[in-house]
Symmetry: C2
Amino acid sequence: MKKCEILSVGTELLMGQVANTDAQYISGKLPGLGIGVYYHTVVGDNPVRVMEALNIAAGRADIIITTGGLGPTQDDLTKNVIADFIGKRLVRDENTCALIEGYFKRTGRPMTESNFRQAYFPEGAVILKNERGTAPGCLVEFLYGNEQKVIVMLPGPPGELIPMLDNEALPLLAKYSGGSRIISRYFPITEVPESKVESMLLDIIEGKSNPTAATYVKDGVVTVRATASGEDEAAVNQMLDGVASKVRERFGDDLISDRGEDLKTVFLKLCVEHGLKVAAAESLTAGLIPYLITSVPGASAALTGSFVTYSNDAKMQLCGVKAETLELCGAVSRETCREMLEGTSRAFSAQLALATTGNAGPGVMENKPAGLVYVGAKLFDRIEICECHFRGGRENVRMRSAMKALDLGRRLMLEYFRV
Amino acid sequence: MKKCEILSVGTELLMGQVANTDAQYISGKLPGLGIGVYYHTVVGDNPVRVMEALNIAAGRADIIITTGGLGPTQDDLTKNVIADFIGKRLVRDENTCALIEGYFKRTGRPMTESNFRQAYFPEGAVILKNERGTAPGCLVEFLYGNEQKVIVMLPGPPGELIPMLDNEALPLLAKYSGGSRIISRYFPITEVPESKVESMLLDIIEGKSNPTAATYVKDGVVTVRATASGEDEAAVNQMLDGVASKVRERFGDDLISDRGEDLKTVFLKLCVEHGLKVAAAESLTAGLIPYLITSVPGASAALTGSFVTYSNDAKMQLCGVKAETLELCGAVSRETCREMLEGTSRAFSAQLALATTGNAGPGVMENKPAGLVYVGAKLFDRIEICECHFRGGRENVRMRSAMKALDLGRRLMLEYFRV
């Protein structure tokens, strides 16, 4: 199998200003081509260190994919250093010059001479079109020792990188794959701690040859990743089908999906399948629940609208939460959560309602500790409300609360519609 | 200045399942201690490759910080490989054993024998408490050649890593800093393209010694990062004050903040400063605007509630958008945006209202292309509505729309309250 290293160039990554989502995106795409991502490296916009990193990468990988440093600014030096490294000169591409001029004319944006820096490429490179910006990428083969290697240069902004990778680079990279197929499947699971998930799957995990399995956790969801490889795609899939049936059998409703779909996608599918309208009333999550649901295309089939009821006034006015309830039990209470569920399902004529009320922190609020959250779901006349004690910072508490609401809704739908 | 490399161990990062936010968080914290982050590396849960990566890191950095691989599962191998690498044996810490047992008793979660793996540390290590999980970290010094180096091991889950870094590791790392101070300031700017920002600051950027300046873009905001270093903190700050005054003068209202505050923070501050109540009515952004605002602690001073009006019905019912408007102009129109602004400001008695309506894509909707969005803000009786053509995928269009709404609101407030 061919090995790939992703080399990201950008001081902004080393300063912590942005996360390396480019490397994440590329990594998700290559295994399907039979290319394994073995390393990610980040270096700053410094020609000496970029050169050293290229040396290390070429020594341990067959395919190098760089991100960043293709723009028009002073610190965009990737192409120059790579040209030096592989011993090729940069040549001007007139076609790209014309495209850059056209782009600036069309968008009416001011053009500076430095924009033409983007029209130079190492000799022999295949140019990769940038449909969302002015910096094209390129792919170029080179010899390292006497081994043939390939380097692909992609722009840093994700909005430009993603279509260039998908439409331009991946089709070219397919021919560099080693012929074998690597397929991964993902099994997201809720409400079971990671060490328990692993101990329930020890027979699969301890094998560690083919297929392999491992777990990881994000936003309260434990995901099992099973990976198999081989020359024959059908045989690879058969191995994974075996894993899938064990996981299904052992985890039941705790398993969100045996096809790697995430919680919001599965939640929306169930709503649509059963013709349910969903609405939320949110205090601490303040919009996150409908935002997550609508990140899945087609959400309008289930979600018509939703309430953010951050203050007590909004809870009373929009959801009809009673003043006595707020006074006696507090905004952060099971009772308030229940009235929010009832109010929002009524207001939107929604069969399924979700609600969150809690203290995201930092600090204590109305005597309620940070992390105390009531999360509820109501399906027809069934109501389920959980008292949760989340740890972590404000954003973690809010994300966990929204995920919990979706999961409660998912479980209610599964139970209600079970034959 | 001491050089640091962050070495993240985790196949899930190489498979693209999660972004390396740990490296991002750590990177943001070290420069303040006078430690420069020069490299990020990611390798999988493979002992040979982890060992090779440690060798490279020790060869080029003074301080190595590892993330991940400290948990109880089979693929958590970081401590074992590091102990091998630095030539120390792992010793059991009885205190940690007791804490782990106590944690499982307290939370009532099932404990497996493998949880005790977390109680072994390289001889001589300082143990770093994990207040949010069972895997402690550690810090240990070692000799590489005849150089004294230090390695810090942190857990992978961000909720555990963040408090351990902040409360346990940073105080210890302070003594490894080289004595010099590195200070960065951030100047986020809207509505000016990156190449224009750079050309307006060429006199600062082309100097490239001390201070340095560079630009990067995220979610439509161009940020100038200026960094200065030196032994004397006051002198370092003075250099940065010089940059700040040039940036202020050249960018005016396009500059969001000369103290690195982000758009949502500045937006909320202005609302609170002027005693304004804010509410949104959102179609395609579906909750993102209040979610962003409330990620800033203290948002309840300005935001009481908000509407997600995803469907036409919700637009009419909650905001009083007229049926004729939707029929004649469509949901994605300037007129609908205006009625959403009016409706939400009325419903919440909000002096400042924000609204978004558009097509996030994929695909054409009601004859409106993906990326066409009307974004509006209303402050008292002043209304500003922009027709935007965003590119990029669904999530990018939604984020850009929400940011544009906050920025329109920010500019309206600046103009209205300007003396």
